[in-house]
């Protein structure tokens, strides 16, 4: 009977530990935001039609229109416990191009710290496009959103969403119980212990009915 009780606790603990798996974790969701340029750059990344993914590092796509000025906006974040980053970008105006960089982004040398991009602006059927990059945990990253024609981003909006996963199976980070939760569980275990101690005085305790 005692073995059964221990087994029950172990199973419960395993369940609690595993609840963090098989789910997606959101790093940030900007919602629909108006383009608010951080600065200007000369030239922009070529849209080469190749989408970055977790299988392997995408080659730098090259820079085009180096004599043209484009406004860009930066979004900073840290990868935290996640190594698998997925970036979704909803661009209904097909006015922008997003890409990921290791911080810091260098607008005069777009190849420096380049990590990946979706290969295209917008998406063919009006859905958000997306791309994936793989980085070590706790890496400082930047998403760059630049307009694809000079002044073309003015007054336009987009939706940027970044997710982090611990593996390519879209598993989220295991849930770490909050201190209050630990206290609650501790109190519960103590009560159970007390009840068991009282019962022990009279009869053997059993987990089975």
């Amino acid at each position: 009977m005692k073995t059964k009780c221990i087994l029950g606790f172990v199973l419960l603990a395993s369940f609690l530990m595993s609840t963090g798996m098989a789910r997606a974790d959101l790093i940030f969701d900007m919602g629909v935001v108006a383009f608010s340029p951080t600065g200007d750059q000369l030239g922009r990344l070529s849209r080469d039609g190749i989408t970055s993914d977790w299988a392997e590092q995408k080659a730098f796509p090259g820079v085009i229109n180096t004599g043209t000025q484009y406004a860009y906006e930066l979004f900073d974040f840290n990868s935290g416990v996640y190594s698998f980053i997925q970036v979704s970008f909803d661009d209904p105006f097909v006015a922008f191009f997003d890409s990921a960089y290791l911080k810091p982004y260098t607008p005069v040398s777009l190849d420096i710290n380049y990590l990946g991009d979706p290969g295209s602006s917008g998406e063919w059927f009006g859905n958000p496009n997306y791309f994936q990059i793989q980085v070590p945990q706790f890496t400082d990253l930047q998403i760059v959103v630049n307009e694809v024609s000079h002044g073309g981003g003015s007054g336009k909006s987009f939706d940027l969403l970044v997710e982090g996963f611990i593996d390519q199976n879209y598993d989220g980070a295991p849930t770490v119980p909050e201190p209050a939760t630990i206290l609650l569980i501790g109190a519960g275990v103590a009560v159970l212990g007390l009840v068991r101690a009282r019962r022990n005085r009279n009869q053997p305790v059993s987990c089975s009915k």
């Binding site: 595993s18 798996m21 098989a22 789910r23 997606a24 959101l26 969701d29 080469d48 039609g49 190749i50 989408t51 993914d53 977790w54 299988a55 392997e56 590092q57 995408k58 080659a59 730098f60 698998f84 997925q86 979704s88 909803d90 290791l102 190849d111 420096i112 710290n113 380049y114 990590l115 290969g119 295209s120 063919w124 059927f125 009006g126 859905n127 958000p128 496009n129 997306y130 994936q132 793989q134 980085v135 070590p136 890496t139 939706d159 969403l161 997710e163 996963f165 593996d167 390519q168 199976n169 879209y170």
Partner: protein, 632 residues
Amino acid sequence: MRHTKSVLLALTAIAVLIAQPLTRPAFSQAISPSAMQQIRDLVQEKVSRTAVQRKLGSSLVYSIKAARGERLTPTIASFPNAIDSLDVDVASRVLVDIKCFPNNDLVAGINRAGGVVLYASAPQGSIRARIPLNQLDSIAGRTDVGSIKPSARAILNRRGPSPAPAPVVTTSRGFMVPAAVARLLEAFTFAGSLVTQGDVSHQSNTARAKYGIDGTGVKVGVLSDSAEEISFLIGTGDLPPDVVDYQDIDQTLNGGPGTSEGTAMMEIIHDMAPGAKLFFASAFNGEQSFADNIVALRNVYHCDVIVDDVSYLDEAVFQDSIVAQAVNDVTADGALYFSSVANSGNLTSGTSGTWEGDFLNGGANGSYTLHNFGGGQTFDRLTSSTTAVTLSWSDPLGASNNDYDLFVLNAAGTAVLYASTDPQNGTQDPFEGIFTNSAIPVNSRIVIGLFNGTTRALHLDTWGGRLGTATAGNTHGHNGGANSISVAAVYWNSARTGTRAFVGGAANPTETFSSDGPRRIFYNPNGTPITLGNFLFGTNGGLLLIKPDMAAADGVGCRTPGFFPFFGTSAAAPHAAAVAALIKSAKPGLTNAQIYQAMISTALDIRAAGIDRDSGYGIVMAPQSISKALSK
């Protein structure tokens, strides 16, 4: 008084003059006299064909005349597209489908004519062969040959841009990596394999964990164009090492390799049901081969679940043709069959390229009675370009007695650009098709003429084009077959919340390109009428099928080169098939009907409330359907 009368008379005269155009037949405004004359001349050409020429598809007749330098009609020199649209190899041999009594003498005759037989089926009475254009009429003249048509075109139901070109600059890793990033990624191993987002969308990940199942014991067969990337994907871990490639694409027949879409489909199934054993067979080696491979996957390999993503452009609309009949065979034997519903658009999204309804007299032009598409308009305008326009009507296969023809006119309605004028006099299929390798121009006018016979239900399909006057009801053929489970597509991130489970409702609509239903059939597979003497939509003839049946994810990431992302109902069908494999592994003793019921009864309702023409019962979900199945 006289002045008032004069004014009244003048006003009446003006009113009559204004009203006169309204009382004229609409087609006389829409189609110019010159185009009407061309159509009348084309019918003269049709009736003047010899008995041998009547065995040939009209595009072959047009091509042979063009190749010989013969003028087609007094008003049309030739149709330049006719030859261009044919599949001709380097030896100038045309790929054709022959209805015949296959025998050694016929094969020898084809060989003597400089041709080659690529596929033959004695039970079905069909041969696929390559034959020189100038030898077609000699082969057609044989008594053992019934008809010769250009090879039926097959298409994949994938949507999106062409695969991107390979990177030019490479390193030992395969790609040029900037130095700072290379340092960051030192001692960092990329995943190699990729998992479909659909694993989360359909919650097959949680279902596997909750029920301790992974598809083990279930055999899944996949049919697509090809699977050349199998070895590569086994190497990356995206496919299991024991996947079987039963019969891949015939590169000689198809003029080269395929896109390996079959491996992308198998990846999805392997991600969601990793214990399932996978089999592949090509559906691109002709319709007869496709049908034979469906049967082989069941009879040879005993596949429990079979899925395909291919449409043939001449598959029957109002009756099951050979591919759908093969589906009937394997489902009767116990297999579940999933098919992509197709990517030809839907009325709800304003992307329909289909017109379906009963023939309506729009006025005469010579021997033709033109079809009235509504409001007296005798044409339908193509508002988005395409490379194929087909017309089917409610006659039985191989026994059509009503002779409809199909024309495409220029935007102004002053000239015939394309025509399909096959004769139907009791032994042919109810089908006309216009195919071209260059796009049919936007704003072209599509005209249907009844040459001989009576009113029938019509189905006009522009295969990814759009029509000015459009209806629902695109899906047909085996994709919308009575025994196929037809799958529509929903983007995995349609809710714009990232990689989350589908929630249903307005957050997860079907893709704008996903074909709609419902589908009406008028004949049983053997050609007997379902409703004797009633072959029209307007009188509720035939049988209405709920199509598509369900919806599943697309736009997902696959490791097969060129399939990141993988859009289309081609991607949706394997997601649904994988859920079926999980159900089957959870309770192997369930019947097809029980598995199907578990899937549809727990589907998330999307689009119109309840069963609808865009998603059927809605989005299939793994945990809910498995739970339902286990409760049976």
